[in-house]
Amino acid sequence: HEEQLIFERGRDAACGVDLPAPDSVATRLGGMERNGSVGLPGLSEPEVVRHFVRLSQKNYAIDAGFYPLGSCTMKHNPRLNEKMARLPGFSDVHPLQPTSTVPGALELMSELARWLMELTGMPAVAMSPKAGAHGELCGLMAIRAALEARGEAGTRTRVLVPESAHGTNPATAAACGFTVDAIPATEDGRVDLAAFEAKLGDDVAGIMLTNPNTCGLFERDIRKIADAVHEHGGYFYCDGANFNAIVGRVKPGDLGVDAMHINLHKTFSTPHGGGGPGAGPVVLSEALAPFAPLPYVTSTGGELKLVEDEQSSDADPFGRMVAFHGQMGMFVRALSYMMSHGSDGLRQVAEDAVLNANYVLASLKDVMTASFEGPCMHEALFDDRFLKGTGVETLDFAKAMIDEGYHPMTVYFPLVVHGAMLIEPTETESKETLDEFIGCMADLARSAKAGDKARFENAPELTPRRRLDETTAARKPVLRWTPPAPAQAAE
């Protein structure tokens, strides 16, 4: 069955809800009544349910299979967290109802903040950013605000970003008015310390560094880098996307970090939901804490207070990043996750995530090409050298995995190696699953080397759709359904 669009299936007279007819009250719309129909299709509830159930069946998901997507931390999403987030006391409260009627909401935010600060060893956290990239923006704004307070915002305009960084890092720095200066990587996949030091200067606002980095490696020199940045008057923004590798074992505060966002939808397992919603609280050092944006929750003598405006603030908030207070629904899920694990469980999370990645690395390094020597953190990075001369590209290899029942790893990222394949198993996969996966990858690698190009070029073949024409999609974008022209409709 091909699944039509709802617009192709609906009928004017059908409706999937029953609403009472309005009484004939005189309207007060001031003459602004809508002209004509909206154009929405009418469908009964059974049709809507079936449509979306069928659509869902065209998706891959972590609940249904292994999802070793590097840098995305596709771990198990506990259903307890979903249940907790749906408690009416959390889901059915309004951000602007009197704070006297929501003490439990403030308590939840405050308690989550406590966990985040304790786990990162940082003294403050800005809760409102709605996603990782939003958290980066928050961190850089705090840095810029701190520079402004020092009277150096006009002169310190350069931000150092390693070549291997996520695209959000340079994009965020630019959005915050900084210029971006790339730092090269060394042969062993880490920041080139000499190159980095050479770039330091009075115009440097700070550095944005991911740790563990996007090559799946811990930046050995991170303390030195932090100290050097600080010595030169800059700040250290740490991209926390890979916090899952060290949670419960290493406190970023001990590494000299000034700001770090935490993807609740990665490390703390709030579901990815096909692309969101996420949540990106940002922990801040003493130096940056005063500039944290509005709103925030404070505690005085055990009493929690929501500070929503500058007038009520004792600090120097740099402004506001969102309406309301952040991703409450995600906060509940994350706290439920944290409480379930406890500090012992979270440390085990990091250890098992790292163990799983190293197990994959060790088991596949002879059949694929590991990009760097030594143990990795929670991601194993391979490149396409093992495919040399086979005619099989990284993309083909990834697509062939789909026919084997796996979601592909992250490909072509990080940019510092050729044809990158970044595998992040996460801690919620069993050894059995990894063994099956390793077996499959080894088989594919052998197959490629043996010249079975067809297995790769034609892949995937067992999916609801095969490879799609992305070029035409971008060249002549069709971004919405439009009714067929009358002539066609009459056919």
Binding site: G16, V17, L19, R28, L29, R34, S37, L40, P41, E45, F52, S56, K58, A61, A64, M74, H76, L80, M84, G89, S91, V93, H94, L96, P98, T101, W115, K130, G167, P170, A174, A175, V250, G273, G275, G276, P277, L294, M321, A323, F324, Q327, H341, G342, S343, G345, Q348, V354, L355, N356, P375, H407, K431, P460, R465, R466, A474, V478, R480, W481
Partner: protein, 453 residues
């Protein structure tokens, strides 16, 4: 730990394969300064150990029970987020594993479910707002609004935004914050509950855009055609922010009136109040500006067998390709919330959506009538959709607290969002929706009468 499949045996075997003696060998690159003394991790964190479901459920349920939920009282709080009834099938469907636990659809062959609903979502948003195209959602209405300003700057190659004084103060604050750091200029007018403001005179040749809210922060609705004309005359764009998308079932669309970018808070359709998030920002514009849009876009295409399919497209606008030259640093959309939006709106359809809007307006009209009748109360909003402003003879913040003590959540005191503005200290912004009953309205009027007497 229930979520961790590795057993102690597994770990030993795996360490053996890796050639490591212990877990510590894998963390060898961590500097000494970041290792706890004697390896005592437990002491390094002042946090409790793991707990079972029952214990976590109890603790969080106790916390939740301290809050007054909207459904448990007569409830009239709005100002950017609204209490509506969401059909049970919506929450059921968005919890399907294949939607809930999938990633961004970067592998379209195994993500057609997500991609097709995004395409349906984009079409719905375009229809509702009266625009050509929409993106696959933003974080929320406020950030969508700020992104719209940035986009207008790119389109016009200017960098000054003019904001209506009756734009939601939070939206204004987000724009101001973003603009401050990006080095852009913002001119914001004073709030005016009458809706009378001279925006046109603020627009000049440096103005990239005018931002107005519809219905405005006080609930007022008015024609935007003149503002659109004034903006266009100066080469500026008109950005319209819609805090309550249900209004589009009853009101003329911004697209109809000349808007260039329409942003909206989509929470009302499909999504719970959630104490402010997650919500879903809607973002629509004219076809000609599509390559300057921020955020994800889903487009139609074909696969190698010629079958219709969907992909994320125009990604050369985005950070993972363009890095510092991207149209936005945004990297997430509000996926599951826009799925909820799409499903709820599919259930409503033309008939249901327009009727829902009519019921909301009716509820507000009835409430306005009931509150107008309370001695000392003045209704300040002559034309409104489901929200309006009243003036009370006592300070609004005190009135709202007193009502809460009586078990009625009666709206938002304007002073909460505009602190320091004495002109609004006696104004309450009141919202009514289809969930309010005659009893709710009567309870409000009675409580207000008592509070004011």
């Amino acid at each position: 730990m229930r979520y961790l499949p590795l057993t102690p045996d597994d770990r030993q075997q795996m360490l053996g394969v890796i050639g490591a003696k212990s877990m510590d060998d894998l963390f060898v690159d961590v500097p000494e300064a970041a290792r706890p003394a004697n390896g005592k991790f437990d002491e390094a964190f002042d946090l409790p150990p793991h707990q079972g479901e029952l214990e976590v459920d109890r603790a969080l349920s106790a916390m939740a029970a301290k809050n007054t939920s909207a459904g448990s009282v007569p409830f009239f709080v709005g100002a950017g987020a609204y209490k509506h009834h969401v059909p049970a099938s919506v929450d059921h469907l968005i919890q399907r594993s294949e939607f809930l636990t999938s990633y961004t659809p970067y592998q379209p062959e195994i993500s057609q479910g997500t991609l097709q609903y995004l395409f349906e979502f984009q079409t719905q948003v375009a229809l509702l707002t009266g625009m050509d195209v929409a993106n696959a959602s933003m974080y929320d209405g406020s950030t969508a609004c700020s992104e719209a300003v940035q986009m207008a700057h790119r389109v016009t190659r200017r960098n000054k935004a003019v904001l209506s004084g009756n734009l939601h103060p939070h939206y204004r604050a987000v724009i101001e914050t973003t603009s401050k750091f990006a080095g852009d200029a913002v001119e914001a007018l004073e709030a005016n509950v009458s809706g009378k403001e001279d925006i046109a005179s603020q627009i000049d040749g440096d103005t990239s855009c005018v931002v107005v809210q519809y219905p405005d922060f006080f609930g007022l609705i008015g024609d935007l055609a003149d503002i659109a004309a004034a903006a266009h005359a100066q080469g500026a764009l008109l950005i319209v922010a819609i805090p309550e998308i249900v209004s589009m079932g009853a009101l003329r669309t911004p697209g109809d009136m000349g808007a260039d970018i329409v942003v909206a808070e989509g929470q009302s359709i499909g999504n719970a109040l959630n104490y402010g998030g997650p919500y879903v920002g809607l973002f629509a514009t004219r076809q000609k500006y599509v390559r300057q849009m921020p955020g994800r876009l889903c487009g139609e295409t074909e696969d190698v067998d010629g079958k219709r399919g969907y992909v994320l497209t125009l990604s050369t606008r985005e950070q993972h390709i363009r890095r510092e030259k991207a149209t936005s640093n945004i990297c997430t959309n509000s996926g599951l919330c826009c799925l909820a939006f799409t499903i709820h709106l599919a259930l409503l359809g033309e008939k249901g959506f327009t009727r829902l809007a009519a019921l909301n307006h009716e509820s507000a009209c009835k409430l306005a009538g009931a509150l107008e009748a309370v001695s000392g109360v003045e209704l300040l909003t002559p034309a409104f959709f489901n929200e309006f402003t009243i003036r009370t003879p006592k300070p609004a913040a005190e009135v709202i607290e007193a009502l809460a003590d009586k078990g009625v959540l009666g709206g938002v005191p304007a002073s909460r969002l505009m602190p320091g503005n004495d002109a609004v200290s006696d104004l309450i912004i009141v919202a009514a929706t289809e969930v309010n009953t005659d009893q709710d309205r009567a309870a409000y009027a009675a409580a207000l009468t008592e509070v004011l007497s």
